[in-house]
Symmetry: C2
Subunit: 207 residues, 2 copies
DNA sequence: TGCGTTCGTTAGAAGTTATAACGCAACACG
DNA sequence: CGTGTTGCGTTATAACTTCTAACGAACGCA
């Protein structure tokens, strides 16, 4: 993006190292969870010893925040791509396409999903740009529902229902709460997706 | 249960200390999350220094497992109590009662909820008795749905839908993903609860 | 009263995050 | 092409953490 060509060798090197740090961090998170992420272990894996890593990242929390940002960005991009590729086809389907994209993204790396939608740390507040990406994701979903009936509040309600229902299903599936319970998550997902657009399209405001 | 009267003074003392340990642990978890739980800090809070705690609990993981068990047990008891108190009243309502009980239990201590349904640690497997309590919870929910139509698979489907939808809503609410999004979680919850029993072929009573 | 169990202590090993100070290599500039 | 500044990686250190080992003292039971 920002003139990659006019990078000094040092900037180039820094970017490379930082990328490798994030890469190793993702590996660790995938195998042992975010709470087990160790800067020291990453440094040793990269052949350098301990404090050298602090040249490239301010600390453990900053690195995790960067990974959270990367995860949000990844989901936002996935949503954008599916929304774009689905814009020409069946105008009633974009929500379904987003649903499948979400499930694929979640199954692709469960811990990445949990980094976005998992247990929050009580004190922690995400930086502004991260919540910006979060609202970007929500907007993409909202657009998918605003397409058919150009109705604000109703589209929001549908988008929220999409989000909460699919998240409930995915979250429990990824956490392994369905194991040994004779239930096919993929089938459940399909069933919920089928139920998703509330059939009562008539003005059902009264609550 | 097992003759509390015939406790030796030492057993009595041990039980008291262990209870205080769990109490302090819950305080820490509520304010800083489970990943920040520190045995050392608990010991200092209790006026004794560090390794003394290892007389009462095998280690950090064992303590967390005990808290997870306590959380599961608490939810199971809440469900049992709700189902029992609701057994005499409206036979179509027990699921709704369970739903409100679940939401109350979740809001009462969000981190306790996440200890049960939050981000899992990839390697960790809960001990048998904990998964026993989990299935006990599911059975209570299942009974609430098996009451009206004595139909196995359909009751399971409804119970699972109850679980996944309400968990999705609660999980996102407790994690704060609705903040700044002009949405009332309580209203959303009521709306989802209203949509819950799929009204396809309900012989007794439509909604 | 005596004896054994159990408790809480301190000491220590092996980790972790994170900072400070130092030497050296690499880059940039005259 | 040399020189100087910048930045990288090192080791040392502090302050944590979990957890084990060994010791003395208190407690309970006979």
């Amino acid at each position: 993006m920002a003139d990659t060509g006019t990078q000094t060798p040092r900037e180039r090197y820094r970017a490379h190292i930082r990328a490798e740090i994030r890469e190793r961090a993702w590996e660790q998170i995938a195998t042992a969870g975010a709470s087990a992420l160790s800067l020291n272990a990453i440094a040793k894996q990269m052949g350098m010893s301990g404090p050298a890593l602090y040249r490239y990242c301010a600390g453990r929390d900053e690195l995790i925040t960067e990974l959270v940002r990367e995860a949000y960005r990844s989901l936002a991009d996935t949503f954008h791509a599916t929304a774009a590729s689905e814009s020409g086809t069946d105008p009633a389907a974009p929500a379904a396409a987003l649903a499948h994209a979400l499930r694929g993204w979640a199954l692709d790396d469960p811990q990445r999903y949990f980094l976005v939608y998992g247990t929050p740390v009580p004190g922690y507040h995400a930086p502004d740009d991260v919540s910006g990406i979060a609202s970007e994701i929500m907007t993409t979903l909202l657009d998918a529902y605003a397409a058919s009936p150009p109705d604000g509040p109703e589209a929001l309600r549908r988008a929220l229902t999409f989000w909460t229902r699919l998240h409930g299903l995915l979250s429990l599936e990824l956490a392994g709460h369905f194991t040994g319970m004779d239930v096919d998550p993929a089938l459940m997902f399909a069933a919920e997706l089928d139920d998703l657009p509330p059939r009562r399209r008539d003005p059902h405001r009264g609550h």
